[in-house]
């Protein structure tokens, strides 16, 4: 505004006839160009987040348009002392994420190493490996639900052929979570393969060759040459997949429905928050769970990135 007219920036002062608004535009270029994107982010990210944060401090229920009272941190106190639904859900979220991630990274690494070197029919194998990735999770959930049906499903029939009795799979109180982890691993290992394969292909051949000449075994070459060089890519894969696994909803909802089953056996934080808003209409408590969940994700992300920086040093 007026303040900018007092002194023209050096170099830009060539044409004194430039009108005031043009100079103003010129001066604030970086803000103006960024404004649409920043408005977009504010509208779609910051506002909902701030609104959720506000709701979490109220007793909103039934309808968000209904009158609600500001109750400070009472929801947080209630949720953090809730040992029946909240903490078990935290535990399940952690179990689901850690176990699924572990299998996905180990399997993903193994498959990526197998696909790394060119071989005959490579293209077909790659397509086949990546297929689960392109299937929609709800369809995947429905498919596995049929396969794992305890009475008419294929899984128990197959077990029968090798003489093992039927298993409850998704229907069992204690087998449901491992079964959903299996489905997640089946669907998302290909993504880890994809990322690691990209990382492997970009590695230069020289260190490998040098190690080979020095007489390093295959395992030694992997452990001391490939793995350290691949570390940045691996961290990215873990980071992306880990955040995604924490937030898993579709597979759990498609296989076990609302509330994660009659005993909440696959109820993760995401499923719990969904139930709180859409089944119970407890918008205040639900927002509290979501904010806490958000903090957990940020914490996990922070831990992983600092770990990555240390590894790079």
């Amino acid at each position: 505004m007026a303040t900018t007219t007092t002194k023209a920036p050096p170099g830009a002062a060539a044409t004194p006839a430039t009108p005031g608004w043009a100079r103003w535009v010129d001066h604030h270029r970086k803000w103006l160009f960024a404004a649409p994107a920043m408005t977009f982010v504010a509208a779609l990210l910051i506002f909902p987040l701030a609104w959720t944060g506000y709701l979490s401090l109220t007793d909103a229920e039934g309808s968000v348009r209904a009158e609600s009272e500001f109750i400070g941190l009472r929801n947080y106190l209630d949720v953090l002392t809730d040992v029946e639904r909240f903490w078990p859900a935290v535990g399940r979220t952690a179990t689901f994420t850690v176990v699924a991630l572990l299998f996905e990274v180990v399997l993903g690494m193994a498959i990526a190493l197998l696909l790394w070197r060119p071989f005959k029919g490579e293209r077909w194998v790659r397509v086949a490996v990546l297929l689960p990735l392109v299937a929609t999770p709800v369809a995947v959930g429905m498919m596995w639900r049929l396969i794992f049906d305890p009475n008419i499903g294929l899984a128990n029939q197959a077990l029968g052929w090798v003489g093992i009795g039927p298993q409850p799979w998704l229907a069992g109180q204690h087998t449901a979570l491992p079964t959903t982890i299996f489905i997640d691993v089946w669907q998302w290992t290909p993504m880890v393969v994809l990322i690691l394969l990209a990382g492997l292909t970009s590695l230069s051949e020289e260190p490998q060759e040098a190690a080979r000449i020095d007489g390093a075994s295959t395992w030694q070459r992997f452990r001391h040459v490939t793995l350290p060089l691949l570390m940045p890519t691996l961290t990215v894969a873990i980071l992306l997949r880990g955040i995604d696994a924490l937030k898993t909803f579709d597979i759990l909802y498609a296989t076990k429905g609302r509330g994660g089953g009659s005993f909440h056996e696959v109820e993760t934080l995401n499923v719990y928050a969904y139930g709180l808003s859409f089944d119970y209409n407890e918008y205040g408590v639900s927002s509290t769970v979501l904010i806490l969940f958000f903090l957990i994700i940020i914490g996990a992300m922070w831990a992983l990135t600092t770990r990555r920086k240390e590894a790079q040093r």
């Binding site: 039934g62 309808s63 968000v64 348009r65 209904a66 305890p150 009475n151 008419i152 128990n156 039927p166 409850p168 998704l170 229907a171 109180q173 076990k256 429905g257 609302r258 509330g259 089953g261 009659s262 005993f263 808003s277 859409f278 089944d279 119970y280 209409n281």
Partner: protein, 415 residues
Amino acid sequence: MSLSACGGGGDGGGEGGSTTVRVTLANHVWTDNIKKALPEFEKQSGLKVEVTQLGEDQLSDQYNVKLNAGSSDIDVMMYRPLQEGKLFAKNKYLADLSDQVKANANWDFADFQAGPTEATTYEGKPVGVPIITEQEVLYYRKDLLEKAGLDAAPKTLDELKAAAAKIKAADPGVAGFVARTGKSTAVTQFSSFLYSFGGDFVDGGGKSAVASDAAKQAYAFYGGLIKDSGPANVSTDMGWPEAMAIFTQGKAAFYTEANSLYKNATDPAKSKVSDQVGFAPFPAGPAGSKPYNIPSWALGVNASSENTANAWKFIEWATGKDQTLAQQKSGVPGARTSVWANPEGTSTFPKDLADAIAASTKTGVGHDRPLVVKVAESREIVGQPIVDAITGKDAAASADAANTAFQKFLDDEAR
């Protein structure tokens, strides 16, 4: 199509409204029928109807999101009076229809059964029109009964238990009995057992009654029946699609379920045993045969709609005598007394089913779940002893725990 696109703005508000009526409906035989009949309505009214069709849960979510935001892009909404009616009315999502229901004597609001219209009334004002009614009946397999040497369907719950055990013992591959097992979804079908044992979810004084002797017996009976005579490897997540699948695959002899779903069992395209399905009134317990008799779906007008006049025109047509008769002839039980009195109204029902329905409407109870605002939450509480009984845990202890939780829930809601 053409007119709806330019909605949104401030134009066309109030009575005149758009000539496009936006109707949100659930997946149901009723919906399939109404969609087929739509051209007739569009021709006689000059209006255009846009139908959005969703599964029950997705429909609920859709309403929660859109109505919470005060959206006006839904005019007519199909909803579940006992599941969401109180909540929606309390949140003022449903328009008051007091004037509309009186406007047309030919349409005749008094023709609707009293029980169902009570469920679509909030604080003395009608906020919906019931379209589908439901009673719980006993589905059974005629051939399996014959094979087991039984000449008639069980009349009491004790007879049902004995017959189911006998059939399962004769062929372990076929369950004697199947029913819903999911904590929340089983509650409605369990309710008839509860009433027939002499219990209810809430007693006359508004207190939780799920730990009464009658309730404990009912929980133990329902859970025990599924545990002992149900399918092997029984899941505790079964809703009607799963339970119905077991029955229609020929894997169960008895099945207690809402009559409105009977076409799934008798339609040869959907059922392997369509020619062997029989129906009987809900078996009597110590307190007699007391199935629920409820309006499962109703039509209401979105209070934020800018097209209420045309929305009502659609409802008036869809719930009129002609449409109700047509619906009932295709197997959807309605709520109009005149249609039930009309022999044509029951002509297409299997004879035994029509008899079972007639019996149910006499002794039926007007609710199949706790009558509260937060129904979903209450169902999870009172449903816990069902799954505990199915999985072989102590049903009485579980009922005591549920009772404490349910009483707290009722106290919270009363505040």
